[in-house]
Symmetry: C2
Subunit: 378 residues, 2 copies
């Protein structure tokens, strides 16, 4: 608990906040593109910063959401029964192994809430997903950040630090964001085999639907120490519908019912996710376009003297060959030219910029803007 701030900044309501809440910043893990547009007055012509799917959701998902719109007077099914049944069939597990929530962001918050007391040790990678860190801080966990090993998260170092700190949680994304790298399944399987008894692995597989074959590890759904996070936001193209799910042992899956917002899943979103899941042809189509767009985006980068990193995701992280200041400048110059991108937040990853895959038209805009931005960044 900190000393009370000076009178000028002592809000009248501060006395109602917990000491922990009072010292949390009013922040946002990512500034949204709309906020940037309002700030600069420049609308984005190419929305390539949030790893959304410019290929869009399945037309069947769109139709299902339109059809559900008139029924939005009804709350969604709080049990997410139909979606859980479909997910279970899709993954060859039971509905009891599935917890549905408002995106992986929401599920990460719930896991932190269920597992963290003040000071509970947690391990992640230095530069990995900030929203996880936001939730750990929000629930008072004590976060250790392990450096990347090159452009990859470092499973061995994460395990070592978990052991050294007695961590209750390890967060690992495979494929990784923001670097786009991935570990083959066997590396993750080895990691799972070597988890300390006191540690639960949060395996964020947001990009698994777009990863090369051989990326997704084989882990028994009943494993007591692993919770896998999946989403309809990336491959399925439904970021704005807020549907994610966790795959884990039934005990942990059931624990979400202790704290979740039972009526929190929107009815239209439930319908969209269910239809998206059923249209695996569309997902395959997106996967094909993803591979092609990675190639084109990488070629654009190379043509401009930049070094694209291999990508297992729906974005390409590009080494700009200089320091973070240069990459930030390049990002800003792209922004003034209507191209929204993001970049890693910490050195040495911040020598890179991160560009989401686009459709042909949007990559045309990038292709035109990138050399101008590089010229302006100097």
């Amino acid at each position: 608990m900190r000393a009370p701030p000076a009178r000028v900044s002592l809000p009248a309501m501060s006395r109602f906040l917990t000491p922990h809440a009072a010292q949390l910043p009013s922040t946002v893990p990512f500034t949204g593109p709309e906020a940037l547009e309002r700030r600069t007055g420049i609308p984005f012509r190419a929305r390539l910063g949030a790893n959304e799917s410019l290929f869009g959701p399945s037309p069947r998902a769109i139709e299902a959401m339109k059809a559900a719109a008139g029924g939005a007077w009804m709350y969604g099914d709080p049990e997410n029964h139909d979606l859980k049944q479909a997910l279970a069939a899709h993954h060859g597990i039971t509905p009891a192994h599935v917890a549905v929530g408002p995106g992986i962001d929401g599920l990460l918050g719930l896991v932190c809430r269920l597992t963290l007391d003040a000071g509970t040790p947690v391990v992640t990678s230095l530069g990995a997903y900030p929203t996880f860190n936001f939730h750990v801080a929000g629930y008072g966990g004590q976060l250790s950040r392990v450096p990347y090993r090159g452009d990859h998260e470092d499973p061995q170092a994460l395990l070592d630090t978990a052991r050294a700190t007695g961590a209750r949680l390890i967060y690992l994304a495979n494929p990784d964001n923001p670097m786009g790298s991935h570990h083959p399944a066997s590396v993750i399987e080895d990691m799972v085999a070597n988890l300390p008894d006191h540690t639960l692995l949060i395996l964020d597989e947001a990009y698994a639907d777009l990863a090369p074959e051989g990326t997704v590890p084989s882990i028994p759904a009943d494993h007591p120490q692993v919770i896998r996070m999946r989403t309809f936001s990336k491959g399925y193209g439904l970021a704005g519908a807020r549907v994610g799910y966790a795959i884990t042992n039934p005990d942990l899956a059931l624990a979400f019912d202790k704290v979740r917002d039972h009526f929190g899943m929107g009815r239209i979103s439930q319908a969209g996710a269910l239809a998206a899941l059923k249209d695996q042809d569309w997902l395959r189509n997106v996967q094909d376009r993803t591979v092609a767009a990675r190639q084109r985006l990488s070629a654009i980068a190379r043509a401009n003297g930049l070094a694209p990193l291999p990508s297992a995701t729906n974005f390409v992280t590009i080494d700009c060959g200089r320091d973070g200041d240069y990459a930030r400048k390049l990002l800003a110059e792209l922004g003034t030219r209507g191209v929204f991108i993001r970049m890693p937040g910490v050195a040495p990853l911040d020598r890179c910029i991160r560009i989401s895959l686009g459709d042909e038209e949007t990559l045309d805009i990038l292709e035109e803007a990138l050399p101008l931005a590089i010229g302006a960044a100097g």
Copy 2:
């Protein structure tokens, strides 16, 4: 912290839960109608239990959501900028006085998270909204429950108990759920004037859009000790879109940014809420139909020898004239006849059943089923 449960029920993952989370039940404040249908095998012909709006949302809101469906590949604006601007204009306040969240349920959870430590005293009414109690328990608050005074929440008793317990929060719904009663604005204004310094009033105004004139109190938006909750789920008919908002002083409104899921608002929901707000003609139409439906539903109750209570909401609470067991039996008998209703959970309120307003067709079904159910309940 309880003693560990017997081995048979000791889940392998229990060691990852906080002691507090471990002892929370995996429960749901309300069982959804879909779950009841799956349990009984009887589909509901009349969905009159969740206080949804059978009059539906504005056709313009439906159109806006359909139009937004194709853009669901994009995250929603995490600042909810356009919706906050529109809400501010609607209420004659500034956007800084508004916090948007996934329904009042979600906002209640966030307020509890911001304000409650283990054992923090909180006051509500015995039999009032269970989802608030769920959140208080979820964050470890110490809840005192003050009996209703007749069919009304009792402001003076709530204040007295808040003073006696040192409560940080008082929860009061005006109009009230589950009784449908309301206090005139002046009673709430008096209550606000007499709040203990240490207490924040959560004024749940979910049903304010449907309340008689003179119900909504005049409270300065800058008031340091009041947070008002509003929703698009009731009058605006968008329960399945999950959009609620809080009106409070800018300091407290900003505090939500400490802990909220910034990208948690769905893009389609944002579009629907914005369009619904702009169609005040539709809301007036719903208000008119609400008054008429209250009259018809009350007449149906009286024709069957039951005593409808006055309603300021989109439901009518009906005194069945006997005890809770009888009301529960009547509820069950309506259920087997395809009529979904709910009822208060505690005595003496549970002498009543609670029936949401329906359109003509749905009230026809109720009119037919009610005498049969009464006959069967004996």
